[in-house]
Symmetry: C2
Subunit: 346 residues, 2 copies
DNA sequence: TTTAGCACTCGCTTATGATGAGTGCTAATA
DNA sequence: TATTAGCACTCATCATAAGCGAGTGCTAAA
């Protein structure tokens, strides 16, 4: 996976120039443009020759004869691995990110939502994040609140700041006192137990106890299962989809529709991001490097965020392969870092 | 506002035929098409004459000479008010709606989300709903859960099934017992009080009491205010935005982008829907009848849903003026009804 | 090894003409 | 008098063709 630096210095400069320019303009880049816009001290003819070489070795390609060059996936890869210099975060960006840090603590989900939103605003790409069902989720607290004689509101708190609630209908009515009893009983039985481990044995044990909570128990378990055992239920958060339409590569509605469908459908992206949650640092997948065909013309820049040192999920941006990788990488990295810090204090 | 039935029977038939056909095909409708596709027993020439009359009186227009006719807003209005016959709900639609009714009770917000989703699926238009800040919201229950020594999870239950939660950081740590005391004290003070009415006098009263809860109180009030006093915070729910792209009128990206921005921005739509919450029955706003310029080329079909007989919010669909009004009206009406029923049992 | 010069390629834009769906008007018809 | 057949006319749409220009590859000179 180590990128070979088998390009001489001049070729590197040209590849960088072509890529920078193409990222900027979205137009195929010609030799004259390079010669005039970037002061490389060589003529367009020389650049032409070098570009022909770069095309031969697969870093560039022409959309058609007599057009300028465009970086290939391989070209972008080289650009990202070898040519890219770190872009510092601007003051403006920092203020925006500081908004995130300044926020009063929220439940984790909201925190991630905000991060995703800010990331989308800063990069102007689609920003995505996933909160994986994490196997170390631990039951923390159950609260039953009587809404009226036949409806009970159940609130379940899972260890790292996740709250779920559901209204449960019961034919039999429970007094506040009974509810108190039931919930404190369940709390004592379940507190600290991993959600995954809440199985039939514990349930039976609870059922066998003196507490009469017909129906209630089943509903509560259903709630837990819905949220935590169903592998489908990885939560994908997504923001800035509209930015798509600002990119010239998505003017073609028919292709874009497929992409939008994938986003709306959520599952595909959720899986991809979850798979990335184990790796560390910023990861960049460029175009065809993605295995999913829907992403063959897109790039994904992601980073993992952590809770108390444990990998918790993935956050990143999704954009055209012609992506401002420098900015994207810097910002994704930064946001993931800030997010991790914020969550560490839970 | 009573539509004048000042059209003879034949003109009505033709207007209906043109409208039906245009809704179906999205193509301007010519006299020959009407003559052959709808058995009206008159020749295309006669239809041509009648259509010229209908154009003169503003029910139809031609996008350009030598094109077929398209219903104007006035034409659609007449169609909806006079010509439209009720469309029954199909068995298939009923099954889908039944899914909604069959669902285990959820907190109100989720219930509305699901309704919106189903409405979007059935109509294939954008479906929107609003949960207005309702002034009769009543404080029901507060629960404080200690997450760790310095973080407390506050859960606030508002009367009709709304749950809010927030994590509060406290420099001082509270024991579970203290939390229990604080929350039961607050509960006894606040239960049954309208959120609106929770003002400085009650706060002072609580503060003066023996309970030491520095910082906590302020955070809790902030939470309440965020959600219920801020007029900006009407919640707009939206589904099926992708259906937009299936309609030929939204192939033009530049125009559509404006619409998408309005939807993403939420506020405009939320206001419009809130304003509609007071009226009863199904309401149809066609194209230029909408005051907001963003909606001049769209139609909105809405109905109010109720909680215990009290108007609670608005749900409806947003689509091109060339909308299948019959289906849309029937479905919006039905969904709003089912939703109201489901909430009545809270 | 670099570069100036030049013929060549090919996508993009604009102009032109053919096509056909649909109209309005007129005159014949029931 | 109301309807309809017939016909000239309009105009968006589509395909074809011409011209433009950005950009190339190759050759020969520096």
């Amino acid at each position: 996976m180590i990128a070979m630096s088998n390009l001489n210095e001049r070729k590197k400069c040209i590849l960088r120039a072509v890529t920078d320019d193409y990222i900027d303009t979205a137009e195929p880049v010609g030799s004259r443009t390079i010669a005039s816009r970037y002061k490389l001290g060589i003529s367009s003819a020389t650049i032409r020759n070098e570009m022909a070489d770069l095309e031969e070795s697969g870093y560039l390609y022409q959309p058609h004869t007599s057009a300028g060059r465009i970086p290939s996936d391989k070209g972008y890869r080289y650009y990202v691995d070898v040519l890219l210099e770190k872009e510092p975060i601007t003051a403006q960006e920092n203020t925006k990110i500081a908004q995130l840090a300044k926020l009063k603590k929220e439940a984790i989900e909201k925190l991630i939502r905000r991060s995703t939103k800010i990331l989308a605003e800063l990069t102007e790409y689609i920003s995505v994040a996933v909160i994986p069902k994490h196997h170390q989720a631990v039951f923390k607290h159950l609260q039953l609140v009587s809404l009226d004689p036949h409806n009970i509101l159940a609130i379940i708190v899972i260890d790292p700041g996740i709250v779920e609630n559901k209204i449960i209908f019961t034919p039999k009515s429970f007094s506040p006192n009974e509810l108190e009893q039931i919930s404190s009983h369940l709390n004592s039985k379940l507190r600290g137990i991993k959600i995954e481990a809440i199985g039939s044995n514990i349930i039976r044990e609870i059922k066998d106890s003196s507490i009469k909570a017909q129906g209630l128990l089943e509903c509560l378990l259903e709630l837990l299962e819905d949220r935590f055992k169903d592998p489908e239920h990885e939560m994908l958060i997504c923001d800035g989809v509209l930015h798509l339409f600002e990119q010239p590569e998505f003017q073609d509605l028919d292709k874009t529709k497929l992409l939008l469908e994938m986003i709306e459908q959520r599952q595909t992206l959720a899986n991809i991001l979850s798979d990335l949650a184990s790796s560390s640092g910023v990861k960049v997948s460029i175009g065809g490097e993605n295995t999913k065909p829907e992403l063959k013309e897109l790039s994904l820049v992601t980073a993992t965020y952590y809770l108390n040192g444990q990998s918790m999920g993935t956050i990143g941006v999704l954009g055209p392969t012609r992506m401002a990788y420098g900015r994207a990488i810097t910002l994704v990295d930064e946001i993931a870092g800030v997010l991790s810090e914020l969550m560490d204090s839970f």
